[in-house]
């Protein structure tokens, strides 16, 4: 692009070199910075070290960090039972109670307690991962890499398929493929739709929903906040036109608030849908 390295060349703001947008943004002719390739915004640049074929980079580190933070939250929140818990402990207890009572038991039924630890782990890990996207200095939601949502959705898939077979035997599949409650002429059609929807679309949409929401959020935040900073800093060079950056930055701050809601909501929906899928395997009639 024409204005390549326009900001990096000034040498005023060394940290801006690390903004991918800054290196290819044409502040003179464009109204917003768009990256040439969206993938650049989601790839960690440079591996820290290798262990065999396994490369350790910033994304890997953040995934481990999210796991450590999740475990630490639960450990320090529930370490000891106090008569009067601190605010932090009350919050963590509320979270655990919420997942256990309002998600696991309310959706799955009394047996839901068995699945509560899994759902709680899902909820907290996804929540921490999503909130990384709006944490200053991290600014990267790890759940926007397809590997994590797919992995978690495969685990949910295995759980509900195994539980379905364990509870209902072969009827688990035959009731889906040949639904008894439907008129006989429609059974092959409904059975086919139900089969595809249960065994293919459920895990796919479960993973894609989380992934797509976080990708969209990260894209909007990067483009708006990044463009805002780059344009405002380019005012001496380009003139009044680049004050449009103020509008981008303000809009970006609005999206930032929206992303807080999305982060919590998507973690909740992933957990809720996992619970619903497990429930449909535990009690297939409903």
């Amino acid at each position: 692009m024409g204005g390549g390295g326009c900001l990096a060349g000034q040498g005023k703001e060394p940290r801006l070199d690390r903004l991918i947008l800054a290196s290819e943004c044409d502040v003179k002719n464009e109204l917003i910075c768009a990256p040439a390739n969206v993938n650049d915004l989601f790839v960690a640049h440079g591996d820290w070290f290798h262990i065999g074929d396994f490369a350790f980079n910033r994304t890997t580190f953040l995934i481990l960090l999210a796991a450590v933070v999740s475990i630490a939250l639960l450990y320090f929140g529930l370490r000891r039972e106090r008569l009067v818990p601190t605010k932090f402990e009350t919050a963590i207890e509320g979270l655990v109670t919420f997942v256990r009572k309002d998600v696991a038991v309310d959706i799955i039924g009394p047996e839901g307690v068995r699945y509560a630890p899994y759902l709680l782990a899902l909820f907290i890990f996804i929540l921490v991962g999503n909130l990384f996207g709006i944490t200053p200095l991290i600014n990267y939601p790890i759940t926007s890499r397809m590997a994590l949502p797919v992995f978690m959705s495969i685990i949910t898939y295995l759980i509900f398929v195994v539980v379905g077979f364990a509870k209902n035997g072969f009827h688990f599949v035959s009731d889906i493929v040949w639904p008894k409650s439907v008129p006989i002429g429609l059974r092959p059609l409904v059975g086919l739709i139900e089969f595809v929807s249960t065994f293919f679309l459920r895990p796919l949409t479960l993973a894609v929903r989380l992934f797509a929401n976080l990708v969209a959020g990260h894209l909007m935040l990067t483009l708006l906040l990044g463009s805002g900073v780059i344009f405002v800093l380019a005012v001496p060079e380009v003139g009044l036109k680049s004050l449009v950056g103020v509008a981008w930055f303000g809009f970006g701050l609005g999206i930032y608030l929206f992303e807080m809601v999305v982060a919590v909501l998507q973690a909740y929906i992933f957990t809720l849908l996992s619970a619903v899928y497990i429930q449909l395997s535990v009690h297939p009639q409903h």
């Binding site: 969206v38 309002d102 309310d106 959706i107 679309l201 949409t205 894609v208 929903r209 992934f211 797509a212 969209a216 909501l265 909740y268 929906i269 809720l272 849908l273 619903v276």
Partner: protein, 72 residues
């Protein structure tokens, strides 16, 4: 015009079309959930959970469109 540009434009239109249905659907789901909560506030918790489920299922098509937009 380059083929890539045309492909991107068509993918964009496809995603736009794919987002129409779920948009209407989510409107219906949330609207009816609000009606239900207004009529029976004591059921609000249960209605809200069901509303999120309905939104999640309705949203699926738009999400598939979103992913296809990036794949295309």
């Amino acid at each position: 015009m380059e083929l890539e540009v045309i492909k991107g434009a068509i993918a964009l239109i496809g995603y736009g079309l794919g987002a129409v249905g779920p948009g209407i659907g989510i409107g219906i789901v949330v609207g009816n959930a609000i009606t239900a909560m207004a009529r029976q506030p004591e059921m609000a918790g249960q209605v809200r959970t069901t509303m999120f489920l309905g939104i999640a299922f309705t949203e699926a098509l738009a999400l598939i469109g979103f992913v296809l937009f990036f794949i295309a």
